[in-house]
């Protein structure tokens, strides 16, 4: 049966219509898909840059903090400490000239004051940057730190440090020390732990730290719970020295922190 021009026109219109509509639908969806992918990639990049920027800010603030601590510790030790010694000597000279009992009593009071001030200054300087760390190294500084905690609390603190004669990078030493300091501080402040175990092994090509407490623990990935500054500092410090680290903690099961720094 032959088709009339009107029939052909209808069929042609329908076929062109189908073709055009399908083409438009496909083009639209493909455009959406690729634009969406590009948009998502840009968003991801922006997020990564933001995280990197924050990380750098945190690292810079840690570095400034360390520099400032060192400067203050030295100022206190070299300037204030030595001037207090001079004052002490001067007072001894004056004491020899003072004969009245009242003057002797005043000198005794002043000696006591100078002694307390000297001790306080030394303690502050020590807290800011333990001289043991600079003079005797990481293991001695950690032993000293652990002993301080042992004396001030009934928590059972066990530590085991294995030594090697290797010369460690001062930056690595300082950051490992600060991390242990932060972990101990968190344990004693929040964890209600009764036992803490620390082990540190210095080997020719690695430095490994193991830290464990049997406290109440916490959920490091809990939603809505902001990571504390201490925890962020620990992570930033580990990243600064490019050490591998892992923090495992669940509510009711204590906390385990392991870190390892390797070098060739």
């Amino acid at each position: 049966m032959d088709t009339t021009p009107a029939q052909t026109e209808i069929l042609t219109t329908i076929l062109i219509g189908i073709f055009l509509m399908l083409l438009l639908a496909l083009a639209f969806v493909l455009f959406f898909y690729f634009s969406q992918r590009k948009f998502q990639a840009q968003q991801l990049l922006a997020q990564e840059l933001e995280i990197e920027h924050r990380e750098q800010l945190l690292l810079a603030s840690i570095k400034t903090q360390e520099d400032e601590r060192q400067r203050l510790a030295r100022e206190l030790h070299d300037e204030v400490g030595s001037k207090l010694n001079v004052i002490n000597l001067g007072l001894h000279q004056l004491k020899k000239q003072g004969t009245t009992p009242e003057a002797q009593q005043s000198f005794q009071d002043l000696f006591g004051l100078v002694r307390t001030t000297t001790e306080t200054t030394r303690r502050i300087a020590h807290d800011l940057l333990p001289p043991t760390l600079e003079k005797f190294g990481l293991l001695m500084a950690l032993e000293e730190l652990c002993d301080q905690y042992r004396q001030s609390s009934p928590v059972i603190l066990e530590y085991e440090f294995s030594e090697s004669s290797i010369q460690l990078d001062p930056l690595v030493v300082l950051n490992f020390f600060r991390v242990v300091q932060e972990l101990l501080s968190n344990t004693y402040k929040y964890s209600q732990a009764t036992t803490v175990k620390i082990s540190l092994a210095i080997k020719p090509h690695s430095l490994a730290l193991f830290y464990q407490d049997n406290g109440i623990g916490f959920d490091p990935n809990a939603r809505g719970q902001q990571k504390g500054m201490g925890l962020k500092n620990i992570e930033s410090r580990m990243r600064t020295i490019q050490a591998d680290y892992q923090l495992d903690s669940t509510p009711g099961s204590g906390t385990v922190f392991t870190a390892q720094k390797t070098w060739s």
Binding site: I10, L11, M21, L22, L26, V29
Partner: protein, 222 residues
């Protein structure tokens, strides 16, 4: 030849449709809320298809089913898009009022303008244009807001892709279906167009199948 092809695609389409219905009913709880809402449309499609086949083999006119199916299509997809657009309560009321009003128009069209024994080109065109519009609106609203790496977003996007592709592809077929009869276009040529419709239906239900499969394949991690 066209008739054979149309029948073949019709059978393939039916198999995929049955598979989709089984998936959506059996694994209902594992599907995201928006995705599982396509069950109304799928069940309506299957019921209509089975009824129309039965009537066809009985030698009865089954075109009245197209009128019912068009109304069902409007309501079922209306429900789906209402969930997808996440309307606030006021906008939701307006949306449902619009869908309801359009439904009444379809009924009036079947009573007064396009009898149940013939094609309902006006109604079908109106519904298809509306659904194409909804799908386009989804893509505009979703741009920059959805994460295509997530199963639920991928799934809803696939359904919208299916709606956009099928309803825009077959728009001209249904728009001119009544005219084809009135102008006495040979049934061989008409079958050619129904082959395209059946082929697009296969693609449509394949895309729906993929959209149902995506959230089932990737179980959420807790």
């Amino acid at each position: 030849m066209y008739q054979d092809l149309a029948l073949l695609f019709g059978k393939v389409y039916l198999v995929i449709l049955v598979l989709n219905v089984i998936l959506v009913l059996l694994l209902y709880k594992r599907l995201p809320v928006k995705v599982r809402s396509v069950r109304f449309f799928l069940l309506g499609s299957l019921a209509t298809d089975l009824a129309s086949r039965w009537l066809f083999y009985q030698g009865e006119n089954n075109l009245f089913l197209l009128h019912i199916y068009t109304l069902w299509e409007l309501l079922a997809w209306g429900w789906f898009f209402n969930l997808v657009f996440e309307h606030p309560p006021k906008a939701q009321r307006i949306f449902f009022a619009g869908i309801g009003g359009l439904g009444i128009l379809l009924v009036l069209n079947s009573i007064f303008l396009e009898p149940l024994t013939g094609f309902n080109s006006n109604a079908k065109t109106l519904v298809q244009v509306l659904l194409v519009g909804f799908a386009i609106r989804y893509f505009f609203l979703a741009f920059g807001k959805i994460d295509l790496t997530k199963a639920a977003a991928q799934s809803v996007t696939f359904i919208n892709f299916a709606v956009l592709l099928y309803y825009s592809g077959t728009l001209f077929i249904f728009m001119f279906s009544r005219l084809l009869r009135e102008y006495g276009v040979a049934s061989v040529q008409q079958h050619g167009l129904w082959v395209i419709n059946a082929l697009l239906l296969v693609v449509f239900h394949l895309l729906i199948f993929i959209s149902l499969w995506i959230p089932l394949r990737r179980r959420p991690k807790y």
